[in-house]
């Protein structure tokens, strides 16, 4: 089976996100009000061949924690659906 996986990589809460902060200031400078907590992250998309959704999830989780994110700074969030 083929699955479409998306891994979102976010800075962990408590880790400064100067990029998000700057974008937030730019949003405010444009005159939009009521917008806060802007955070920057990455999305890494991939197609995965696997027997089942569970095994695809296990594979992508391992890739996400060993390579795609650094647990000292980042959290990884995984979404998987059939391709």
């Amino acid at each position: 089976m083929r699955f479409q996986a998306k891994v979102q990589v976010w800075l962990r809460p408590g880790i400064a996100d100067p990029e998000g902060h700057t974008v937030s200031e730019a949003i405010n400078a444009l005159g939009y009000s009521g917008v806060s907590t802007v955070r920057m992250g990455k999305i890494i998309s991939m197609i995965v061949e696997a027997e089942s959704k569970e095994s695809a999830t296990a594979k992508v989780s391992e890739i996400a924690s060993t390579l795609l994110s650094n647990p000292v700074l980042e959290d990884a969030l995984i979404q998987i659906e059939e391709a």
Binding site: L67, N70, L73
Partner: protein
């Protein structure tokens, strides 16, 4: 001076390997460049991971370099107690490889820094500062975007209480926790530092303070 030789790792995108080699050779130490695809370290007595942009810094600095074939040999080399010096990108690779704790995140205020930095030698138990004096000031260039040293509180306490903070910025340029510019492993043989000692090793370059680091490093070659 010594028959021992130093291996300088070269990843695709490393760019300070010849600078490091030139300084060490002038100091009488033989050097050899070791391509990241090799696993044989050629019997060297010490290793340097030079600055640059290993694998383009894609994903995160050091994230891909950590899985280069050479790194399994580097980990064994570290366990043998021989000295390893990671400079700038080399420091980032050592943290990704978990040979040193913590991580280097983007500089505070997202500023790329290319300037001279004044540093204080905090600990002399590392292989790169063993001949320096505690409190000694060194002027070394920094040249990085991701040099903001970050770790959890327990790690920070452990580093401080075990004298594992090797160098501190006198004025914190990048947001690093406790102004950390360099740290060492528990045993002191593995050292990572953001400043570039090889770029301050000749009068022509305006400072020879970097020689202090290399003198210490050479004295610890095994």
């Amino acid at each position: 001076m010594t028959g021992k030789s130093v291996g300088i790792l070269v990843f695709p995108g490393s760019n300070c390997e010849y600078d490091v080699a030139s300084v060490l050779e002038k100091m009488g130490v033989k050097t050899q460049l070791i391509w990241h695809g090799q696993t044989d370290l050629g019997g060297v007595s010490g290793l340097v991971l030079p600055g640059g942009f290993a694998h383009g810094d894609y994903l995160r600095p050091g994230a891909i370099a950590r899985f280069s074939p050479v790194m399994s040999s580097v980990i064994e080399f570290a366990e043998s107690g021989r000295p390893i010096l990671g400079i700038c990108n080399g420091f980032q690779v050592l943290t990704e490889a978990k040979l040193l704790p913590g991580a280097l995140q983007k500089n505070a205020r997202l500023k790329f820094l290319c300037q001279e930095a004044e540093l204080e030698v905090v600990s002399t138990r590392s292989s790169a500062t063993s001949l320096a004096e505690t409190g000694q000031r060194l002027k070394l260039p920094i040249n990085h975007f991701e040099g903001n040293y970050t770790c959890d509180v327990d790690t920070l306490n452990e580093l401080e209480s075990n004298n594992r903070v090797v160098l501190r910025y006198v004025e914190n340029p990048n947001g690093s926790m406790n102004s950390i510019a360099g740290i060492c492993s528990k045993e002191g043989n593995v050292v990572g530092m953001m400043p570039h000692p090889e770029r301050a090793s000749d009068d022509l370059l305006g400072s020879v303070d970097g020689l202090q680091i290399f003198k210490s490093y050479i004295s610890n070659l095994l």
